[in-house]
């Protein structure tokens, strides 16, 4: 098991904008709970940044996970909660370079 960086680009899909604010908030609450569970399982969130000005996506979110499996579990929980159906995305996984500062 080696530490991994996980980089997640996202933007809402068109039908997201057709949902009312209550429904959007309900989804966001579930996804936030998923993130909390991943934090409790040893992940750490570097942050979520706005990049719409220079990218196809709206945000980039960066996490550190203790293993590739932990990154997968985080993502699998999000997609099980309809995250991917309401957000277009692109993900990257990277292995920590040994000896790198």
């Amino acid at each position: 098991m080696s530490e991994c960086i996980w980089i997640h680009y996202a933007r809402p899909r068109p039908h997201w904008y057709g949902l009312n604010a209550t429904t959007q908030a309900a989804h966001e609450k579930i996804w936030a709970a998923t993130a909390e569970a991943s934090l409790a399982a040893g992940g750490s969130r570097v942050g979520r940044y706005h990049i719409r000005g220079q990218q196809d996506f709206e945000t980039v979110e960066i996490w550190r996970f203790p293993s590739a499996e932990a990154a997968f579990e985080h993502w699998s929980a999000l997609t099980a909660a309809e995250y991917g159906e309401l957000n277009a995305f692109a993900n990257n996984i990277g292995l920590a370079i040994e000896g790198s500062p």
């Binding site: 991994c4 293993s67 590739a68 990154a71 699998s76 997609t79 991917g84 993900n91 292995l95």
Partner: protein
């Protein structure tokens, strides 16, 4: 793990073994003399043997016949694509897969190829093509994402779509095409799924695609397809002549 899509007549959910696809699309890089020489080629061959000893499968064929003795094989795609080869290994775990790509890159692969690695667990089991086709000298790699239209569709509409696509997949199998199941790669890619086929000919892949067009497969997916001829990986990692 939850499945991204449901099982169908053709596709059955795979046993959850934790194993991981290591697919790749690689372009040979123009190199100065000596950058990829006998040393790098030998190191890479040694590592490929070590990975096999660690439980890796080294070809699409091995996904159908895990115990068959098999040197690493890929599909030669240079005649039709901007990458020279595509292929797939299978690693014992996600961690082993990710670490394996770094080991390969460091052993010399990164000098020889610019590579898009595609990693992820198996969702559906292999599907054997009909008939006694022994010639599977062609391969096909499909990458796709479920697009906005699929994402906005109701579960009933997606189910009806899956049933339509199953007609096309049954047509593929009737053409003697072996389907190496379906893998989920969305956790570390812009693509959601990878599909790998063995086919008896380029014509059979083309006929199969016509069946998928007729089934309106691509109304709900955005796809990229590669087709190539079976070839030993060793042919691509020979050192350059001085």
């Amino acid at each position: 793990m939850t499945l991204l899509t449901e099982a169908t007549d053709v596709f059955a959910a795979a046993e959850k073994g934790g194993r991981c696809l290591v697919a790749f699309a690689a372009k040979r890089q123009p190199l100065a003399s000596g950058v990829f020489g006998y040393d790098q080629a030998r190191r890479l061959e040694t590592l490929l043997q070590a990975l096999q000893a660690e439980g890796w499968l080294m070809s699409v064929r091995a996904m159908f016949e895990p115990n068959a003795p098999a040197d690493p094989h890929v599909f030669d795609t240079g005649f039709a694509h901007d990458v020279d080869m595509v292929g797939a290994f299978e690693a014992p775990s996600l961690s082993a897969a990710l670490a394996g790509t770094v080991r390969l890159e460091q052993a010399g692969w990164a000098r020889r190829f610019a590579t898009e690695w595609l990693l992820g667990p198996r969702e559906f089991s292999t599907v054997q093509g009909r008939g006694a086709q022994s010639d599977h000298s062609w391969g096909f790699l499909a990458l796709w994402e479920w697009n906005d239209a699929w994402s906005a569709a109701t579960k009933a509409k997606r189910r009806a779509y899956d049933e339509e696509c199953d007609v096309a997949f049954k047509g593929d199998v009737a053409l003697g095409i072996n389907i190496a199941g379906r893998h989920r790669i969305d956790w570390a890619s812009r693509w959601h799924h990878a599909g790998l086929w063995e086919a008896p000919s380029l014509g059979s892949v083309d006929l199969a695609m016509q069946g998928h067009e007729a089934a309106a497969d691509f109304k709900f997916t955005t796809s990229r397809h590669y087709v190539g001829r079976l070839r030993p990986l060793a042919d691509f990692i020979k050192p350059d002549a001085d």
